[in-house]
């Protein structure tokens, strides 16, 4: 080395410290547990017979034949594949490498397929119906998660998603009934979400109250308020206040005829199509526009944003309101598409699952959407499987989505890093 003092030396230096060799056995351990469960369930307690998968609906353009799968044979294949994937994961972990997300996804898909085959032995499982209800359950979760992403990216933890969804559901039911217009109900739901957000913003940004506490209190407040109004006002005046008109289904030509996934994705109401647009728009705006750059800057390092002339608290305030509007729109789906009318606590904790989807999705709108879909899919299994004569108790199936969420967030994501200043108020001296 014959460098002289005057040259800018640090340009040649390695920028990272060495990484320690850390062997993580988490993923192989989870794989192994599921493989053992698979052996017991699919082989030892295996069920004989044939499982039919109905891949088409009666109105599809292209009719796929009903797939017949021998149950025990499929179970054995699934167990073998699981064991191979477990071995791969063990080998990777032994040499201190990370198990790629693709392998994890493949394992999950294979195991789920095995489980479905086993649970529906001797019956017919309607796959399009399963997917349709999966999307249905996912819609409010996705709206909620998008609201969560926007809010947390700008630096405000949005625990109030639950309250925003519920307020949206309640207000949209009442407004749509009174005006006889689903669209006006939908807009009212967004306004309701904004109002809940406004309280969150005023207390957490202006008065520096702990964001998580304000969020939790807001959820309890909205639950209490809607319960009260429902039992005192709506229940006795259902025809005049709680009989909202619904959005019609608008099948998209050609796309809705795609086998298996077409009906679930493209034979939907306008809310679902707006959701597709919202997913793309939030992603695009967050990462490609000036608005997004500033939002992320404020959520990562508010002082730095302030020193380049960005008004931190105004940016936070406006975007928390925007987050409320997005989550509120998700609430409208309950009253204007999913169920015939507003019922008490119709959201049933969906807002908290949306919050988990934000973290599981690493504060990225696209990944958060996938996380919400995973939850929606596992939730919808209980309906399809009990219809297909599953031997698993329905109570267990009710539990499944939450178990999957915990495994996903705690087990597979591990330590993920959110926006650095999320949850911290910005105080100017």
């Amino acid at each position: 080395m014959s460098t002289t003092v005057a040259t800018p030396r640090f340009d040649e230096l390695p920028t990272h410290l060495d990484r320690a060799v850390v062997k993580s056995w988490k993923v192989p351990a989870i794989f192994a547990v599921f493989t053992v469960v698979g052996i017991v369930l699919f082989v030892v307690l295996g069920r004989n017979g044939v499982t039919h998968f109905n891949l088409s609906t009666s109105t599809d353009l292209i009719k796929l034949p009903i797939a017949a799968v021998p149950t025990r044979g499929a179970g054995i294949i699934v167990v073998i594949v699981s064991a191979v994937l477990t071995a791969i994961a063990v080998a990777l972990s032994y040499t201190a490498r990370k198990v790629p997300l693709g392998v994890i996804t493949l394992f999950a898909v294979v195991f789920f397929a095995g489980f479905l085959t086993w649970a529906a032995a001797g019956h017919t499982l309607a796959v399009p119906g399963l997917l349709l209800s999966a999307i249905g359950i996912s819609v409010p979760l996705i709206f909620g998660a998008l609201g969560g992403v926007v809010s947390e990216r700008v630096g405000v933890v949005n625990v109030a998603i639950e309250g925003q969804l519920l307020a949206g559901a309640f207000v949209s039911a009442v407004v749509a009934t009174v005006t006889h217009q689903a669209l006006i109900g939908f807009i009212a739901a967004m306004v309701a979400g904004v109002l809940v957000s406004a309280i969150l913003a005023v207390f957490s940004i202006t008065y520096l109250v702990d964001q998580v506490i304000v969020g939790v209190v807001l959820n309890v407040l909205v639950i209490g308020l809607t319960d009260f109004l429902y039992s005192q006002v709506l229940a006795s005046n259902a025809p005049t206040l709680n009989a909202p008109p619904h959005f019609p289904f608008l099948p998209i030509p050609i796309l809705s005829g795609i086998p298996v996934i077409g009906p679930a994705l493209f034979r939907q109401t306008i809310i679902v199509y707006l959701m597709y647009a919202a997913i793309f728009l939030v992603w695009f705006a967050l990462f490609k526009t000036r608005w997004g750059l500033r939002v992320r800057a404020v959520g990562e390092h508010p002082t730095a944003a302030d020193t380049v002339g960005i008004n931190v608290n105004r940016t936070r305030f406006l975007n928390v309101l925007l987050a409320g509007a997005i989550a509120g729109a998700g609430g409208a789906y309950y009253s204007l598409a999913a169920s015939p009318l507003f019922t008490r606590e119709v959201t049933a904790g969906a807002g908290y699952i949306a919050l988990a989807a934000v973290i599981f999705g690493r504060w990225n709108p696209l990944l958060a959407t996938l996380a919400a879909l995973l939850f929606g899919f596992t939730s919808s299994l209980q309906f399809s499987l009990s219809a297909a004569g599953s031997p698993v108790p329905s109570e267990f199936m009710l539990m499944l989505p939450y178990v999957v969420t915990i495994l996903a967030v705690a087990g597979l994501v591990g330590h993920s890093r959110g926006p650095a200043a999320s949850g911290k108020p910005y105080i100017k001296s």
Binding site: R290, L293, R294, T307, K428
Partner: protein, 510 residues
């Protein structure tokens, strides 16, 4: 651009941080603002930058009065700032950081990243910076991050550039390079305000020097003034710049650290296979630029790090698997580098802070109760012994000055019988008087036969205190050298060169 501040006054409650400060910076001039920590330099610059609003006084640019409601106004008027704590977003690329706040956009508000990249390349080329516009800022070394800050200011056509303690995080070589950059900027007509408390740097680069003390301008000096003159102007009395100490009389190795590595939560090896020993009655200074593993090394000795491999042996007893309590009981005293975060509890009184580490039994606790009378006597004695300036032992520590806070930490740690003393950044942010006091006590501890480790990023402090110097770089010890080693060599070691390779280069050059 000519900058003029007239009668700037800024109060925080009853504290007058700036008291009628006047300052004139001429175009193309490097004007140093010299003062101790807490003298009001940063407050003044934050007023200039629109972050604070002054109660009184006015800011003039080219003889026109300005009104800055926020940093945006100041930037638009042509004022740029290179902050002491960089105002950069680590997860953004260089280009994104530079464009933030004045983004060029195309249709629909989409970012024009290509334009930002061009701008970064153009300014980099002008000053020979070699900055990749697409690199993530968090991945860059601090020296390069500082250049990104400079590019950021220049991309907004800053014609008055404020450098707030820019050398605190740099190696001596990086500091030299910064001086070159400052001269280049000056030659291009930029007016520069250079805030510092380091006398050497001021004399090297400044055209004019304004000294402030306790919020007031106390005088102007020329760069030809001696260190002693500048220091006495800054402190307000004659000061002793060197530490008086006798030669060490080291005994047997007391602390032996062998192949010590520390792994942080992200799996990075922050301390990498470090071996050294410290003899009884000797001060081993650990030098290095901030963030090269010194902090983690000190914490590992104390038992504060979770993943540690290797061995730490004090007087034949292994400390590695001991709890923090166990390490303290083994006779280790510790001054943490962030006294407000880790050294003290601001809401507690002086007396309570003095017994924090001995809340588990004698002499302060008997039968589960505090012995308050004993504590009061003890605290009163320490207040006198360590010259802690406070109303009394019941004063909350948070209300003391930095120097007095550090004296409380020092009093607590030195009041036990020590077998090892670890002082991390013992004088950071202190006034000159307190620095003298702390240094004297550290030398006294050494003279009492205790092995001492001083971790410091200030080369002056390292050279003043050390009997031997270990230099750390990227988690490893580059070399352990005698205290009289040339500063240039220490500087090269702080940038990662081993003493052997430096000797070879010298040989090749000669």
């Amino acid at each position: 651009m000519k900058l003029e501040l007239r009668g700037i006054t800024k109060r925080f409650g009853s504290l007058v941080a700036n008291d009628h400060i006047d300052l004139v910076v001429n175009p193309g001039e490097i004007h140093a603002l010299l003062g101790e920590n807490g003298a009001g330099k940063s407050t003044l610059m934050n007023v200039l930058y629109g972050l604070y609003q002054a109660e009184d006084g006015e800011i003039l640019l080219d003889d026109e009065v300005q009104h800055f409601a926020g940093p945006g106004d100041a930037m638009n008027a042509g004022i740029g700032m290179v902050h002491q704590h960089f105002m950069l977003i680590p997860v953004f690329s260089v280009a994104e950081n530079v464009m933030l706040g004045h983004e060029q956009t195309r249709f629909g508000g989409t970012l024009d990243l290509a334009a930002a990249r061009r701008q970064v390349r153009e300014i980099s080329a002008r000053f020979g910076f070699h900055v990749d516009p697409d690199a993530l800022v968090g991945d860059l070394p601090v020296g390069v991050q500082q250049r990104v800050e400079i590019i950021k200011a220049l991309s907004r056509d800053a014609r008055v550039l404020v450098f707030d303690e820019p050398t605190a995080v740099l190696t001596p070589q990086e500091t030299d390079e910064l001086m070159v950059i400052m001269r280049q900027l000056k030659a291009a007509g930029t007016s520069i305000v250079f805030i510092t408390h380091k006398l050497r740097e001021v004399r090297e680069v400044a055209d004019r020097i304004t000294v402030i003390r306790l919020g007031r301008v106390v005088g102007e000096a020329s760069p030809t003034a001696t260190n002693t003159e500048l220091a006495s102007l800054m402190v307000g009395r004659a000061v002793e710049l060197t530490v008086t100490k006798d030669a060490a009389t080291p005994g047997a190795p007391a602390l032996v650290v062998d192949k010590l590595s520390v792994i942080d939560v992200d799996g990075q090896i922050v301390v990498n296979n470090v071996s050294f020993d410290v003899k009884a009655g000797e001060i081993l200074a650990i030098a290095g630029v901030q963030g090269n593993g010194q902090t983690e090394l000190a914490e590992a000795i104390l038992g504060l790090q979770a993943k540690v491999t290797g061995e730490i042996v004090l007087d034949g007893v292994s400390l590695r698997d001991k709890s923090v309590r166990g390490v303290l009981n083994a006779g280790v005293g510790y001054i943490p580098e962030d006294r407000q975060q880790d050294g003290l509890i601001a809401e507690f009184t002086i007396a309570e802070n003095l017994m924090l580490d001995r809340a588990d039994g004698a002499p302060f606790v008997a039968r589960g109760s505090l012995r308050l009378a004993y504590l009061a006597d003890f605290a009163a004695a320490k207040l006198r012994e360590f010259d802690i300036r406070a109303q009394g032992i019941a004063t909350h520590v948070g209300r003391l000055s930095g120097g007095n806070q550090q004296k409380v930490v020092l009093a607590r740690e030195l009041s036990r019988t020590l077998r090892l003393f670890v002082a991390a950044q013992p004088t950071r942010g202190l006034d000159v008087g307190s620095i003298e006091f702390v240094h004297t006590r550290i030398v006294e501890t050494r003279d009492a036969g205790v092995p001492v480790i001083v971790v410091s990023t200030e080369l002056d402090e390292v050279v003043a205190l050390a009997d031997r110097i270990a230099v750390m770089y990227r988690g490893g010890i580059v070399g352990i050298v005698p205290a009289d080693t040339d500063r240039d060599i220490l500087g090269l070691m702080m940038a990662g060169d081993t003493p052997d390779s430096i000797a070879k280069q010298k040989g090749a050059a000669a």
